[in-house]
């Protein structure tokens, strides 16, 4: 590769791109080329219709050879889109790619201005700045980082499960960490899935069992990630394993201990049935739980709380000795190259909208509660019952509870329209109740979903367009006595209605998990203003994050249905796989480095680094920057009191000459 001294014979090639009419309509491109041609060091200056096209790139390569160019500047679109393209063109022409500089005259100029003369003047100034700066560029080599072949997946819902199986089937080792005692997530709580009405458990449980039996998957349930250190390819993760007081290897799930528990009857609210059922202090979360191993609730078990129980459970377990009250919380450390975050969502707390009476009127349910009532393994073995044990003769669904509401959550939760229609159809199937759905807009864009909406209409489900104002037990007429009355404007009919029903189902929306911010900090990700984990690019990098080697899948990124969660999980697995199989990653060398001689060892840079990339060498009493961790943010460079930290591609002379160029 050609190199030359810092201030040696600089030969610059300049190219200004029309981008069709995107730039040329507002910037006089030939005039910019003409202007730059006269600047010091410029050997070639051209304008061209599409610099990113093959002929455009070949132009650069030819000129490098023909005119012995050793610097290249392209004025076109955002470096985010084509810096890589032009650097590759330089490399193909035999030039170190870091002798290249890009000027954005589209997003920063032609798209945001309306005066052609001024926009052209701005393009000239920006180009001049780049011409001045590129003179000081040095040949750099990207740093190369090896990728550890194992992957950590956080969250054992359908997204985490799917990603784990894909990677494991490709022969990669996976550790799946789940906070709850069983994997399965929200999907395990669903009865049927829209729009095909296939049984959720039937399609999910084979995948759950596969996780348990797969030789490449280590499953840690009842566990949480406590700490993440390192960088892409080389993460060290500490996982906290909570004591379940059961040896998972020894327990066979025979449930004799549960029968023997000193609590003769189930007494405590059962999480899986969202409080509609009861369980004992020793329990298996649900029949298809994976692992099929019991768990002891430390807040309820007399032995754990007081140490003074007869321990009939231990007796029942007999020779297996699976119950172990001495278990302690464990911290385990693993090394992985990539992390897939699939931590899911939390349901909106319906008591936050008191108008709808949840928690006040017993027959107001959430959609997840109804899901458990419909399910044959649920607390009513599939019978849809009111709290008093009677069958409802009329049911009202209220949509957008905690969605599309500036006072709670502004976003659309995307699944509630379809979810409610599915539950409505199941109610029509199981009972002869009248069902009315109160909606603002029916959103059924998924495959087969509009057809499902049509089926709901044909099934005789009533649809009333209007956001319900209030649910009350205040009766105004005899037919309202003893009922829950919904007051709503039927916006399509054009009048206010009072509709008495026996049961109300609130379609509660999705929210980021309560600890999403902690998880975000743990993994150095970003969140949108709503609290969902932020993808690197909303279209082009939907499962990548701003931290290399960390991917997101499923509802932790935003509300979505099962097919979309699976699709993202597949994408995240493929992203991880592509890094693993390549074996290494090349990183932009725009990293900071320390002129060791000048470092005073004051350590002020260390706490400032957002990526914990700086450590301290005690023997030399100097700060050390780990290039693989450095993201090139420049915080340490600006803060170093002795000026001993510099940054590749952002050296002082590069920046100052760039400023001079703009101001000339």
């Amino acid at each position: 590769m050609k190199t030359n001294g810092k201030n040696g014979d600089v030969r610059i090639g300049f190219y200004v791109c029309h981008c069709g009419s995107n730039i040329a309509a507002m910037v006089d491109c030939p005039a910019v080329a003409e202007y730059v041609r006269k600047l010091a060091g410029v050997v070639v200056s051209r304008d061209y219709k599409y610099m990113c096209s093959d002929p455009g790139q070949e132009l650069i390569q030819q000129d490098i050879k023909e005119h012995q160019l050793n610097r290249v500047v392209v004025a076109s679109c955002s470096p985010l889109l084509h810096e890589h393209t032009f650097r590759n063109a330089c490399a193909a022409g035999g030039l170190n790619p870091f002798y290249f500089q890009m000027v954005n005259i589209r997003e920063h100029d032609s798209w945001v201005h309306s005066d052609r003369a001024e926009a052209t003047a701005k393009a000239k100034a920006l180009a001049h700045a780049a011409i001045r700066r590129v003179r000081f560029h040095r040949a750099l080599e990207p740093t190369r980082v090896n990728i550890h072949p194992d992957t950590l997946i956080i969250g054992g819902g359908i997204a985490g499960i799917h990603a784990a199986l894909l990677l494991a089937n490709a022969g990669k080792k996976v550790t799946l960490v789940e906070r709850e005692p069983s994997i399965g997530g929200h999907m395990a709580q669903l009865d049927k899935t829209f729009p095909t009405l296939d049984c959720s458990a039937c399609i999910l449980t084979p995948k759950m069992s596969a996780i348990r039996s797969h030789p490449n998957i280590t499953l840690w349930t009842y566990s949480e990630v406590a700490k993440v250190d390192g960088y892409v390819g080389n993460y060290t993760v500490t996982v906290k394993r909570k004591p379940r007081f059961i040896d998972e290897e020894l327990c066979v799930g025979c449930q004799e201990c549960i029968k023997a528990c000193v609590f003769k009857e189930p007494k405590f609210a059962d999480e899986f049935n969202v409080g509609l059922g009861k369980r004992k202090p020793i329990y298996i979360p649900f029949p298809q739980a994976v692992p099929q191993v019991v768990v002891i609730d430390p807040d309820r078990c007399i032995q754990v709380k007081t140490g003074k129980c007869k321990q009939t459970c231990v007796e029942a377990c007999a020779d297996r000795h699976a119950i172990d009250f001495t278990q302690q919380e464990e911290l385990l450390e693993i090394k992985v190259g990539n992390i897939i975050v699939a931590t899911g969502y939390k349901l909106f707390d319906a008591t936050r909208i008191p108008q709808y009476g949840y928690g006040r009127y017993p027959n107001v349910f959430t959609s997840l509660e109804l899901e458990r009532l419909v399910n044959s393994s649920g607390p009513t073995t599939g019978e849809i019952l009111l709290r008093n044990g009677q069958h409802p003769r009329s049911v009202g669904f209220i949509l957008c509870v905690g969605s599309r509401d500036m006072k709670t959550n502004r976003w659309c939760s995307r699944t509630c329209c379809m979810h409610s229609m599915k539950l409505a159809q199941l109610i029509r199937e199981h009972t002869d109740a009248d069902v009315t759905i109160f909606y603002m807009d029916i959103r059924a864009p998924g495959k087969g979903c509009e057809e499902f909406y049509d089926k709901s209409l044909k099934d005789g489900i009533q649809f009333v367009r209007g956001r319900v104002a209030e649910v009350t037990d205040w009766a105004l007429s005899p037919e309202e006595e003893g009922k829950l009355v919904i007051r709503v404007e039927d916006t399509l009919a054009g009048f206010v209605r009072r509709i008495p029903v026996d049961m109300i189902v609130l379609a509660t929306g999705m929210e980021p998990q309560a600890d999403a911010q902690e998880v975000r900090r743990l993994l150095n990700m970003s969140c949108s203003s709503e609290g969902w984990f932020l993808e690197r690019h909303p279209k082009l990098a939907p499962v990548a994050t701003f931290t290399d080697g960390i991917f997101i899948a499923g509802c932790c990124q935003g509300p979505k249905d099962i097919p979309d969660s699976i699709a993202q999980a597949g994408a995240a697995a493929a992203e991880a796989l592509s890094l693993i199989d390549k074996g290494y990653i090349e990183q932009e060398p725009n990293t900071a480095y320390i002129e060791e001689a000048d470092c005073s060892g004051c350590k002020s840079c260390i706490p400032l680094c957002p990526y914990t990339a700086i450590s301290f060498d005690e023997s030399k009493q100097k700060a050390v920057i780990h290039a693989a961790l450095c993201k090139g943010c420049g915080t340490c460079v600006a803060s170093c009191p002795s000026g001993s930290i510099k940054q590749n591609l952002f050296e002082d002379e590069e920046i100052f000459s760039e400023i001079e160029g703009v101001l000339t």
Binding site: P354, Q355, T472, D473, W474, L476
Partner: protein, 290 residues
Amino acid sequence: MKYSYFPGCSLKGLGRAYEESLLPVMKHLGVELQELEDWNCCGATAYMSVDEAKAGVLAARNLAIAEQNGGHDLLTPCSACYLVLNKTKHNIADFPDIRDRIHCALRSANLTYTGSTRVRHPLDILVHDVGLDVIKEKVVRPLKGLKVAPYYGCQVVRPYSTFDDAWNPTTMDRLLATLGAEVVHYPLKTKCCGGSLTGTLPEAGLRMSYILLKEAVRRGADVIATICPLCQFNMDAYHDQIDRRWGPTRIATVYFTQLMGLAFGFSEKELGLQRNFIPMKPRPVPPVAA
């Protein structure tokens, strides 16, 4: 404890029993009230329908006078006044164009307003400044066995209340319970009484008052407690018309301050209770407290 006191026009007219009960009760609790010097009408809802800028000026004059006379919190018993004064205060803080116009008008009368005066409802002051424990100590004739429907109406709880929930306010419930009364579940506690529509459009307005009365009777209440002079008037003075239209629903509506006064041992006359169209049912004289 000292407050500026903004009675508002109603408390000098149709709602004079509110003032007649509020003043002795506050005095009894050691709360000093100083009537705002040369206060003027807040503008109520009617003026806002005519000219928003002038309505703001009316309210702002009172806020400015309060600020210049010691800057005490402004105790405002009437719901409409409470809303309008608070709304003006918020508008001055939030909207520069309104602020400029009001400041300009104030300047023409050599008045200024920096925005510091706090507008507060007696319920807020009684529950949060005085305290329920202090009130409890003053109760000599507990309202034992008296079933009260707590009725808040609109404009105190909506939209500017800072001291209670807009949907399910509870300060008066707790206050009444402290007096020994039995508070009945009253789901209409924040519904509208009809406001001035009872006079201008009785078909709609009176029906709203009627629904409130009927539901209180249905819930087994002996009396309705209110915090607003217009609500009290609507639910008390129109009984003959309501009876004619929809049948009798005889239940008295009194100010919460009157119930406090009764519990503190004041006579009905001292509290203006004789001014009710529908009198509160006479209560058996309880045995003298030990």
